[in-house]
Symmetry: C2
Subunit: 190 residues, 2 copies
């Protein structure tokens, strides 16, 4: 049975999460096909990486969509924004887990097309965070770009926690939301 492009990509990503510097030969082996067949689907290594990254970006965008990010931003309504924030972060967990290697891969970050796309996606979130600040949902003492960096960093943390088994998969959403919202220091016990 022919391996579909999608199947190849999924298996390739899983292996890249284990070894981000895997060669094309190693990826083909991990997928369970020959190098020639892999090259018939993706003529370049870069083409494969691009396809992976694009799918990751698509999922990212999908998470934003599913969370109703833009609508929430436009509404300015606190409850709506809060729901969207939670949905977004929970959606991003899955992506961080599945596409983890891409979080910190330099080649992807440097690629012009991918960088542009990532910027667009970030820009949407930044607009969203700004609206959330205005609604009193996010602290105005933190620069909005820092908030975006924190979300990124926490995704790296989630990935690491899951990878090392520090965090049970079903606990990840609660831990992430808790930490992002309230930090690690308990409220005054006064």
């Amino acid at each position: 049975m022919a391996m579909s492009r999608e199947q190849i990509m999924t298996a390739a990503i899983q292996h890249l999460n284990k070894d981000p510097s895997a060669s094309v030969a190693q990826l083909a082996e991990a997928v369970g096909i020959s190098r020639a067949t892999l090259h018939r689907q993706f003529s370049n290594r870069e083409e494969l990486m691009l396809a992976l990254a694009r799918r990751g970006h698509d999922q990212w965008e999908q998470a934003q969509l599913a969370a109703g990010l833009d609508a929430a931003t436009a509404s300015g309504d606190r409850k709506t924004l809060e729901k969207a924030l939670n949905d977004l972060l929970i959606g991003l967990i899955k992506i961080a887990d599945e596409y983890g290697f891409g979080l910190t891969d330099h080649a992807l970050a440097v690629h012009p097309e991918l960088a542009r796309r990532a910027e667009e996606l970030e820009a949407r979130e930044i607009a969203f965070y700004t609206a959330a600040q205005r609604a009193g949902l996010l602290s105005t003492e933190l620069p909005v770009r820092w908030i975006s960096d924190v979300v990124y960093g926490l995704m790296v943390a989630v990935r690491e926690g899951l990878r090392r088994g520090d965090v049970a998969r079903r606990d990840a959403p609660r831990l992430l939301l808790d930490t992002f919202a309230r930090g690690a220091v308990p409220r005054r016990e006064s």
Copy 2:
């Protein structure tokens, strides 16, 4: 004037922060010496990387020392723990900035000796976080290993924020401490 080992390492790190996959030839050029000279100081690529990582780990340990981590852990005193936590996080910022590429480099993470050393250093922090939890300084609702992952993730966030210019260097400590302690959602405005 002869380039000292230390000077080579510093220049190499700076370049690796820009391009984590730089070849030995590129590193030598960035340092301003010939490849032959670089190889006279570090016979292997691995030896160079090891030396860099070891220095990073030394600085990490130094930051723990300077923060009085172990003493604070042993004391169990809340004020002492709080001061140590702040000092630690601020100390780590500098390391994340200087050795940033090492935060997410897979080859380093996989190297047995380095992994062992990192584990030891983490173990100290985990003991410290545990003490901080007992003293009511850190939330007991968060698994201590997750707290450790969060610190790691926030270091990645700091590095990213500094690299992209999202965060002014002098603001980094406040933003990091604020975010780690209280999260991004403001306290009830009641």
